[in-house]
């Protein structure tokens, strides 16, 4: 049965959340709501106060009573590595620290008050060393902290004239792209920077770990149970069957609970092992902000060439990403960054170079958008600049150059279909009244000026290139008594609605009611490894095999029904009685045409892209430079909206994170330490700061997507908000800002620099 034959009763409808009742009555149990296990201890980490230094000794205050405090140090860790891409990050620092807040000692105690005092009674003797704290310093490499030059990973994408064969491709392609630029009628250059962003999920990271006859158990607030399992197996030298990782109801993640929980689980597990007691570690907000990952700061240098009529031809872009002190997932983040650097435009010649650099800041990590928001900020701001140089309206210039079916991206990927880009642009511009608002001079009422701006972005769904093929994500759908179907997957619901959307897909695929579908608690012991809950892959990639598995199980029941009659439930029960278990395990296989060359970074980077056009309207106070976003319109090509309300909720929530990143969110550092690790001074938007959102769903189905063509959209909304807001501010005030965040203080400084401020 092909998906087009499925009757759709649930997919496409905005059914309520299946986990809604538990969440709105307070019954849903998040990690810190789990009842204490008998004998449970609280755990804490003692962290480095300095950004870089040699660890000379660890001294436990002899005057303190340590009798009921468990102490774990580096030498207690069986294999002192946090298993990710590269084995450079220790579970606990041993001889040196590479960033502030790096964990050095772990403590556990039943009494929380005593635990706090115990933390204060640990003295770390550290000999500080010169630290590299910013991208510029890392690049200058006067102090080298990683490899020969602080460069930690590197990518090069070449297309057209830049795609040269040479011994030294880096240099040869650079020369080639410069020649191509020299041949262009209009050449424009710019430099665009962006900053750390804290995820600020409202539930901090947390984990409970305990040991029993079956081995190690860890339950917590996590996106990717199998990542945690892998890390525990490695760090504690355990076989996978002895490690049981379970997701508790999770209060938001956005990437911040992708790799970090592995570290936290290791800490809790080590304390639990040494103390022989269950150990709970739930971070307070301050520790969560200080110690966990952030979005990578980045700088992009961009030069483009175009025709006088605005046809974009040549792109040269170099992106520098601040990796922080350890590799963690940075190479993958940078990869996604360079793969999105061309934006939504059809470049004839392109050279995109990406470098990640090590600094002595806490490791940068996964964050919704995963590297793409940084390069898309750069390219969108840059195309606005080209429009300014040409005297064109930016939205029109963008529209003129949009990728179409048959065009190719910088990796040479030819877009085969499912490109609703032009429709998105039309929908967002029309709904927002962009053209009229833009045609007239910015509206100034009293001391307030209004402006409007737009961005157009894309986001690849699923793992990059050959990633999905390597990953081999699996799910199972089981038949249960009474004709019920149970989905077993490691794709977690962290708020984005996995449980509901999967249930909709299964209900339609199997032809059963929504209430007949269950979702098994994601636990590595009971659910197959579906791959991580990241990369906008849950609905499109995992959802497609959920759909297939449901179809297979239902087909068995229907066959039984056809053979011996009775209801679906009765036929199912007969099958179960006869066979004991009826289940379908499906494994993901990307479409056959997906071809990717990892060595040369060429080919089909993603099976499908989601697209969006964002329009922001702002009001700027000309006295105080306060910026309010007064309207936000987003039209997104989602392929197929499985649940339109939830889909819009994702788009709006992501857009507000992007607005926060653009306007107010700023991690302030001094000597590698964070000066504002609190909600009172790391400023995320409130309900009064959020604009009214108008969100439009464009559906250009992706033939291999579930539910009739769904594409992944989890990250897309993070991409376009910042450049749209910056363009709107530029329209309102004439101030061109190429570095985030766009705080009033920076607007004032820019205005002073232009010599135009008067109160």
């Amino acid at each position: 049965m092909s998906s087009s034959e499925v009757r759709r009763e649930h997919v496409g409808r905005s059914v309520g959340r299946v986990d809604g009742a538990a969440k709105v009555t307070g019954r849903a149990l998040y990690v810190d709501d789990l009842p204490a296990r008998p004998g449970e201890l609280h755990g804490a980490a003692v962290r480095s106060p300095v950004a870089r230094g040699l660890l000379r000794s660890i001294e436990l205050d002899p005057a303190f009573d340590w009798s009921d405090v468990t102490v774990v140090r580096a030498e207690d860790v069986p294999d002192n590595v946090v298993a990710l891409l590269v084995d450079d990050q220790p579970v606990l620092a041993r001889t040196r620290v590479n960033h502030a807040y790096e964990p050095v000692v772990l403590l556990a105690c039943a009494d929380r008050g005593k635990l706090e005092r115990a933390v204060a009674a640990v003295r770390l003797e550290l000999e500080p060393e010169p630290a590299v704290l910013e991208l510029e310093a890392a690049l200058a490499a006067e102090t080298v902290i990683s490899g020969p030059d602080n460069v930690q990973s590197r990518y090069l994408i070449t297309k057209g004239a830049a795609d040269v064969e040479a011994e030294d491709r880096v240099a040869a392609s650079r020369a080639a792209i410069e020649r191509a630029l020299a041949g262009c009628e209009v050449v424009v250059s710019g430099r665009y920077s962006c900053h750390h962003q804290e995820h600020l999920y409202l539930e901090p990271n947390g984990m409970v770990a305990w040991w029993d006859a079956d081995g190690l158990h860890a339950t917590g607030s996590i996106q990717c149970p199998y990542y945690v399992q892998k890390g525990l197996c490695r760090g504690l030298r355990l076989p996978a069957e002895r490690v049981h990782v379970t997701q508790a109801v999770t209060g938001g993640g956005f990437g911040g609970k992708e790799e970090y929980p592995t570290m936290l689980a290791l800490h809790a597990a080590l304390l639990a092992q040494k103390s022989g007691r269950p150990v709970r570690m739930v971070y307070g907000r301050r520790e969560d902000i200080e110690a966990t990952t952030k979005r990578h700061p980045a700088v992009c240098e961009v030069t483009t060439g175009c025709d006088r009529d605005g046809t974009l031809r040549v792109l040269s872009l170099r992106a520098l990403y601040d990796a922080g002190a350890y590799v963690t997932l940075t190479p993958v983040v940078l990869s996604r960054g360079v793969l999105h650097a061309g934006g939504v435009y059809a470049w004839r010649d392109a050279r995109i170079e990406g470098l990640s650099l090590a600094t002595n800041t806490p490791p940068s990590g996964a964050f919704r958008g995963f590297g793409a928001p940084q390069t898309l900020w750069a390219i969108e701001r840059h195309v606005d600049r080209v429009a300014r140089e040409l005297g064109r309206d930016p939205a029109e210039l963008k529209r003129q150059n949009l990728l179409r079916v048959g065009d190719s991206t910088p990796t040479g990927q030819v877009l085969r279909g499912s490109v609703g880009l032009a429709e998105c642009v039309t929908a967002a511009l029309e709904a927002s009244g962009y053209r009229d608002k833009r045609a007239a001079p910015p509206r100034v009422v009293g001391r307030k000026a209004r402006g409007i701006g737009c961005s157009v972005v894309l986001h690849g769904a699923g793992f990059t290139g050959s990633g999905e093929r390597r990953l081999q994500g699996k799910v199972a759908v089981d038949l249960r008594p009474g004709g019920r179907l149970c989905i077993r997957t490691a794709s977690t619901d962290i708020g984005q609605g996995t449980e509901t959307v999967f249930a909709q897909i299964v209900a339609d695929a199997a032809g059963v009611g929504l209430a007949d579908v269950d979702f098994a608690t994601p636990c590595t012991t009971h659910v197959p490894d579906s791959g991580p809950t990241v990369a906008s892959r849950t609905v499109m990639v995992v959802g497609s095999i959920v759909e297939r598995a449901a179809q297979k199980v239902a087909a068995r029941v229907r066959a039984e029904q056809a053979a011996a009659g009775g209801s679906f439930a009765a036929a199912g029960d007969r099958l179960l009685a006869r066979e004991g278990a009826v289940s379908a395990l499906e494994q993901y296989e990307p479409p056959g045409w997906v071809a990717w060359d990892d060595a040369r970074y060429k080919g089909d980077a993603y099976p499908a892209f989601a697209f969006a056009c964002d329009v922001a309207e702002v009001e700027v106070d000309l006295d105080t430079f306060e910026v309010r976003v007064v309207g936000f319109w987003c039209a997104a090509d989602v392929g197929r909206a499985v649940n339109p309300v939830m889909c819009k909720g994702q788009l709006e929530g992501g857009a507000l994170q992007a607005i926060g990143w653009a306007l107010t969110e700023e991690v302030v550092w001094r000597d590698g330490r964070i000066l504002n690790p609190r909600l009172t001074n790391y400023i995320v938007p409130t309900a009064l700061d959020a604009p009214p959102f108008e969100t439009f769903l464009v559906e250009a189905p992706f033939e291999h997507g579930p539910g009739g063509g769904a594409k992944g959209i989890g990250e897309l909304p993070m991409d376009g908000g910042a450049p749209a807001v910056a363009a709107a501010i530029e329209h309102a005030t004439g101030l061109v800002l190429d570095g985030l965040p766009l705080t009033p203080e920076r607007l004032l400084a820019a205005s002073l620099a232009r010599g135009e401020v008067k109160p």
Binding site: T25, L202, G251, F254, R285
Partner: protein, 160 residues
């Protein structure tokens, strides 16, 4: 210190250190874990409860100040354990995603709806101004509250 209060309509007598945070008393001895802790500093509003009908941050209220007073938590907004109009609207219209802010949002919304059964969208935003949500962008929370208000007006339902 001996503290007598009602929690979700039930009279309780507690013997507790008086400066314990109401939040910890609810989540600990009273077993009401629906009230969440997102910051412990009054900033996020996930710990909001009604204290004598007003929404307050349970992380900033010493239990000793609750003697003789009435506390309502998110659990107390349910009707026989099932969601009321507000809860249903949040679950069905996108007001809850990860759900960690939802208890606080519902408490703040409840306080508003009792005082103003037919609020404007702007009034809803003001009422929710002290509760952060990182998932939804707020649009659908506002929408859910407005829908719940309409339903409650229609059904004549009143809050607890």
């Amino acid at each position: 210190m001996k503290i007598e209060l009602t929690v979700n309509g039930v009279a309780r007598t507690l013997e507790l250190p008086p400066l314990l945070r109401l939040l910890d008393v609810l989540r600990g001895p009273l077993g009401l874990t629906g009230t969440k802790e997102g910051c412990g500093e009054g900033e996020c509003g996930t710990c909001a409860v009604l204290l004598d009908g007003e929404p307050v941050n349970a992380c900033l209220v010493p239990i000793g100040q609750c003697d003789g007073r009435a506390v309502v938590t998110v659990e107390g907004l349910a009707v026989d354990g099932a969601p009321g109009a507000l809860g249903r609207a949040m679950a069905e219209h996108g007001g809850a995603q990860c759900g960690i802010c939802t208890p606080g949002m519902m408490i703040s919304a409840e306080a508003l709806l009792v005082a103003r059964p037919a609020p404007s969208a702007g009034e809803v935003r003001h009422a929710l101004g002290g509760t952060l949500c990182r998932c939804t962008g707020y649009e659908r929370i506002v929408d859910s509250v407005l829908r719940a208000a309409a339903e409650r007006r229609g059904a004549g339902e009143v809050g607890p």
